[in-house]
Symmetry: C2
Subunit: 256 residues, 2 copies
């Protein structure tokens, strides 16, 4: 792959940086990407579409020429409109379901950029233009003050009103459990069936492997995943994806 030396370097850096927790953060590791070609002549609308459709993968930062476009997108109305189109479609689908009513119908929600927004943090790094400082990122998440994504919390409430239970499944590490719980409640997500974070046994798994494994465990214990929503394709691909998946927009970062 050619990315191994970079991985080793970054993993080492992370182990040193996050020494307080004794854990490292593979979900934040990005592979380097050649920014000279073909992004130099790409339309920024096309770049965003390429990212959202999973055609463009393994990028670290937004291409130089598209930084302004992404900033406009994330801070203007289109990001919210695009999110609303996804959650409206998700609710229309959910309404059409015939639920068993036995409490085993669940909907899987990712957390970052799905349930909660890191936009205020990424604004410090040009909204995807620069590589973030991982230590600062963890400090920000430990504070537990992330706002809810407006359309996602509406969907959460509407799904609950249908009798669907919510499971939060996140690549965040276990030491963030307390701050994640209090953050979710503060943001308006008051209850859930389960909150699953990455534990020590899944440190070396990719996001797809980790989330697939946890979804398999959910189904093996009798739950039916009627829906699954996330901003990264790695939230939605793999095995046991759920009866239907919904992809929220995210042009700021990529998690393989």
């Amino acid at each position: 792959m050619g990315a191994v030396p970079f991985f080793v370097f970054l993993a080492t850096f992370l182990i040193i940086s996050v020494h307080g927790s004794g854990q490292h953060i593979p979900s934040l590791i990005r592979q380097p990407v050649d920014r000279s070609d073909p992004s130099s002549d790409i339309s920024c609308l096309s770049w965003r579409l390429g990212v959202e459709t999973n055609n463009i993968r393994d990028w670290i930062t937004v291409p130089k020429k598209c930084e302004g476009d992404v900033e406009l997108y994330m801070t203007g109305s289109q990001y919210l409109k695009d999110s609303k189109a996804v959650t409206d479609e998700a609710f229309t689908y959910a309404e059409s379901l015939e639920l068993a009513g036995d409490g085993k119908d669940i909907w899987v929600f990712d957390i970052d950029e799905t349930s909660l927004s890191n936009l205020p943090f990424y604004a410090l790094y040009g909204l995807g233009a620069e590589v973030i400082n991982v230590t600062a990122y963890l400090e920000w998440q430990l504070k537990g003050e992330l706002p809810a994504l407006p359309e996602s919390i509406k969907l959460y409430k509407r799904l609950m009103s249908l009798g669907i239970k919510v499971v939060f499944l996140t690549g965040r590490f276990g030491f963030l459990r307390n701050s994640t719980e209090s953050n979710l409640k503060k943001a308006g997500y008051h209850t859930w069936e389960k909150l699953i974070l990455r534990d020590s046994s899944s440190l070396n798994e990719t996001q797809i492997e980790f989330k697939s494994g946890k979804r398999r465990e959910l189904e093996e214990t009798g739950y039916r995943i009627v829906g699954n929503i996330g901003d990264q394709w790695s939230d939605l691909l793999g095995v046991h994806p759920g009866n239907r998946t919904f992809k929220l927009p995210i042009p700021m970062y990529y998690i393989p």
Copy 2:
């Protein structure tokens, strides 16, 4: 599903319409969709993004309010720019591969709206605004005069120059084989490893089942599918998708 009576009606209609061939065209069958909500207040940019990311499914025609947007998109420069972003990414990926050089590395190309364009035909029906006339569609395809998609034929040539062989895999029916072959050649696709059309044994399969099965057969006979490109998600989902898939834009119609 609620779509069964519609399916039966349309299947009957198709069997009658295409009596000359004795075949019917399940890949053209669309399920009805409620166009009143939530499309009535959806942003047309969001609708297109929702379609391209497979969040919005099972639609028959473009929502009324987005007809102008789709027409502008398909006939302006953005459709070509978006296609180029996909094919450039595909070629960058292909170049990075270490090929075995034994003639077993193949790339799967869908045909309609991937290799060849039906845009001139769909223009007669408002570019997705109206349901097409299936008989007229088959007559158009039998003529074999569809133009190539400019970026796709460039990709085809560039992949061939790397030593990757091309397999065309299409939901078109067997009776279109001769016209498809001559059309591909006329449009500049002069050679291929295989051209696979839908045969009588796959009449009742969905597009995903049909294409998955044919890709499995390819891999079972020793081919390695290094890439797979199509405009519909049903070209790319299912099993044996290929080492990497590429999704071209298509806001004019949906094939489940």
